[in-house]
């Protein structure tokens, strides 16, 4: 690519041809404000906050949408520019519900920040906020409040480009333009997967997760309730961002202490049930392979696809309802955890399950929906009572008045608090695959996977779809049928990539045995419930932290987790056994595609 030279604020720089003015400015640390722009998404150029002056041009140019050109002389801060930006922000504010003190995004809102930066006062334009806007609270996961929408369409682009779901669209035009679902139906009646990526990409409080933390506080305050909290792997590598730590800091120990100080009765780890998922799912895969390869059973569906990600599960239910047989029947770690909390845990601790309140802290918006799926009550009770996002949890820590930065570290409680490194890496794309391979390979051959330090780097990374092939050699006698088999696996993250993989499966052209799909870009570390902002750089740092956490664990394989060994011995019996079948496995339903 050829290089071009241009001047930004009197500074001469050289950039690749095709780079936008916004990105060129970033390279020399000139910060141009943006609103409709997001690194994850295509250029939209609809808000005009990022305007700059180009010498010789009368009109101001939107820097996010204008490529830098040879010899351009650009100003990013002049009276004309400041006036224009202030006008843009003032007009947006004039249509906005400015009850900031009552907004969930208060102090973490891009419009609020810009209004402050440009000192927008209420005198310039009178409020033309439409009256009587109703908040859509129909979904278990997501709330939509049009009174806070600035119509930047980040959510529409997110749903289309990252997720290929297209549940959202811009409807009508002019001052009546709004962000709508199909026919403006409530969220719970459309193809929304509840992934929450729109929430994570919304600059204001227009799209938020439905909050349940007040119910959790209530349960904590109730002396008759036994509150069990469990946290997903990717919460511990992102929570710190909300509480004064650098991106990519692991705060596991402080997080556990915080929960204890908040008053939870038992602090347990979803990583435990991630390990359990590996045992069940690994055995399910081996069983399917045996049926297909040895018994010649043609009804067995291969490739088998993971089912940990509830956004992905709802996606396949909507988009590929004919192919649900490919999904592993394993519940997600959250739901396994819930079902065991009110059976095994209650039994071991001598508690009445009706007094237990199980709270899952998740990087996810769809987990709220999953917890409320009608079938998720195999314990005889609601398996998970409340699903909170990392963001809600961070807020609770602030509410509790804890000095998080200076909390001492502590360990999870027992039982169901022990985990292996394999359970931890569930949080990153490729992690479930790697964890499954560590265990499956060991079960079949009696040896460790042939990778240095057990790190199966072939399935790691951020490429949208990755694949690997592992040759199985020198099997233990009972797995002889796998001798010499090349186990073909694939990993996809973000529902856009899930659709590509599923199109192959639907066409009968997939030669994989096992596929991991995560609904969100980057896997759970980039989940819809994670701290805002989330972008490629932040996702990469969280992933790095996840693998550090894995390396820090003395046990790195799920089947070697002593609590896993114990639960099979004392409670479950054997993998895929009757109890497992009842508590840890589930079924799926066909849903309307439109």
């Amino acid at each position: 690519m050829s290089k071009i030279k241009l001047t930004i604020d009197s500074q001469l720089i050289e950039v690749e041809q095709g780079v936008t003015i916004l990105d060129a400015a970033k390279m020399i640390n000139v910060n141009i404000p943006t609103l409709c722009h997001h690194e994850d998404l295509c250029v939209s150029g609809n808000c005009r906050v990022c305007v700059v002056e180009v010498a010789g041009r009368e009109r101001l140019e939107a820097s996010c949408a204008t490529p830098a050109e040879e010899g351009m002389d650009i100003l990013t801060n002049s009276a004309k520019i400041r006036n224009a930006r202030k006008d843009v922000v003032s007009l947006l504010v004039s249509e906005h519900n400015t009850q900031c003190t009552t907004c969930y995004r208060n102090t973490n809102c891009e419009l609020q920040d810009l209004a402050a930066e440009y000192n927008v006062d209420g005198d310039k334009y009178m409020s033309v906020l439409k009256p009587n806007i109703e908040i859509d609270k129909s979904s278990w996961s997501i709330e939509k409040d049009d009174s806070k929408c600035i119509r930047c369409q980040r959510c529409v682009r997110t749903c289309a480009e990252l997720q290929h779901v297209n549940a959202l669209t811009a409807s009508h035009k002019g001052h009546e333009m709004k962000i709508s679902t199909f026919m403006d139906l409530p969220f719970n009646e459309v193809v929304c997967t509840n992934c929450g990526q729109c929430v994570n990409h919304c600059p204001t409080g227009a799209l938020t997760e439905r909050r349940y933390f007040d119910n959790v506080w209530e349960a904590i305050g109730d002396p008759d309730k036994h509150v069990v909290m469990n946290t997903a792997p990717s919460v511990r590598v992102a929570l710190g961002e909300m509480l004064g730590f650098e991106v990519g800091t692991r705060v596991t120990g402080k997080m556990v202490t915080a929960m204890r100080k908040m008053g939870a009765d038992s602090i347990l780890d979803t990583d435990f049930s991630a390990d359990l998922t590996i045992i069940e799912e690994g055995n399910e895969l081996l069983t399917r392979l045996k049926k297909a390869l040895v018994d010649g059973d043609t009804s067995v569906k291969l490739p088998m696809i993971t089912s940990c990600s509830p956004g992905w599960v709802k996606f396949i239910e909507h988009m590929f309802p004919e192919h649900l047989g490919h999904l592993s029947t394993c519940k997600s770690p959250q739901q396994m955890f819930g079902a065991l909390t009110k059976t095994y845990y209650a039994e071991q601790k001598g508690l009445d399950p009706k007094d237990i309140v199980s709270v899952a802290i998740m990087p996810c918006a769809a987990k709220k929906y999953e917890a409320n799926r009608p079938e998720m009550n195999d314990s005889g009770y609601r398996d998970i009572d409340a699903g909170l996002t990392t963001r809600e949890f961070g807020l609770m820590i602030k509410q509790a008045g804890l000095d998080f930065k200076n909390l001492e570290d502590s360990d999870f409680d027992s039982i169901m608090g022990e985990s292996s490194g394999a359970g931890v890496i569930f949080g990153a794309t490729g992690g479930v695959m790697e964890a499954a391979l560590r265990t499956a390979y060991a079960v079949v051959t009696g040896r460790d996977v042939p990778f240095e330090n057990l790190n199966i780097t072939a399935v790691r990374g951020t490429e949208g779809i990755r694949n690997a092939s592992i040759k199985i050699e020198d099997c233990l006698p009972e797995w002889n049928f796998l001798e010499g088999v090349d186990l073909n696996v694939a990993v996809a993250h973000g529902l856009k990539n899930a659709r590509i993989i599923m199109d192959e499966v639907a066409a009968g052209k997939s030669n994989y045995h096992f596929i991991e799909v995560m609904g969100c870009p980057g896997g759970c570390i980039g989940g819809g419930g994670q701290p805002i902002p989330t972008n490629a750089e932040i996702r990469a740092k969280r992933i790095e932290a996840i693998y550090e956490e894995d390396m820090s664990k003395p046990i790195r394989k799920s089947h070697e987790n002593p609590e896993i060994v114990k639960i099979y011995k004392e409670f479950l019996g054997e993998p895929l056994g009757e109890k497992s079948h009842h508590l840890l496995h589930t079924h799926y339903r066909k849903r309307n595609r439109y």
Binding site: N166, L168, T169, S171, K173, F182, M183, V190, V191, Y594
Partner: protein
């Protein structure tokens, strides 16, 4: 009347099974039925392999593509400044009185629907309105009952 599925099929044959066939399909259905039902939008989405929300977003952008059942005759009274200065409010009041409906409503016999519309390019002949695709210009309050009677008599 044609089956919606047949209209879609014909347009796809003409324009291809691509997104760009969407507007011709919408227009084709409107020409025959004067509104597009929810189920028909789903059908279009299915045929073009796009999301139903996309179809709705596009359909709702255009004032002349309705998503609710309308009367046989859709009256659209111009609401722009020039017509306003030439007594479009009087025209509208007269229409409401004669039809016994309010703006946005449809008569019980499903014959007339009353809408207003942005400039239709007939400022020099205002106040103006459209009945379906037919323009009516230089309107007066006295002309309204006559025009409506004409339309009623065309009923069969």
């Amino acid at each position: 009347m044609l089956e919606v599925a047949n209209i879609i099929e014909a347009k796809i044959e003409q324009y291809g099974r691509e997104r760009q066939a969407l507007i011709p399909i919408l227009q084709g259905i409107i020409a025959d039925k004067n509104f597009i039902a929810k189920d028909d939008m789903v059908l279009i989405a299915k045929e073009l392999d796009i999301s139903a929300a996309d179809v709705y977003g596009t359909a709702s952008f255009f004032s002349f593509i309705e998503d609710e059942r309308k009367g046989k005759y859709v009256i659209r009274v111009c609401k722009s400044i020039t017509c306003d200065m030439k007594n479009r409010r009087g025209i509208l009041a007269s229409l409401e009185k004669e039809l016994r409906i309010k703006l946005g409503e449809t008569t019980h016999d499903n014959l007339f629907t009353l809408h207003d519309v942005n400039c239709i390019g007939l400022c020099d002949q205002g106040p103006a309105m459209l009945i379906n695709d037919e323009p009516y210009t230089h309107l007066t309050v006295e002309k309204i009952p006559i025009i409506l009677r004409e339309k009623r008599n065309q009923k069969n």
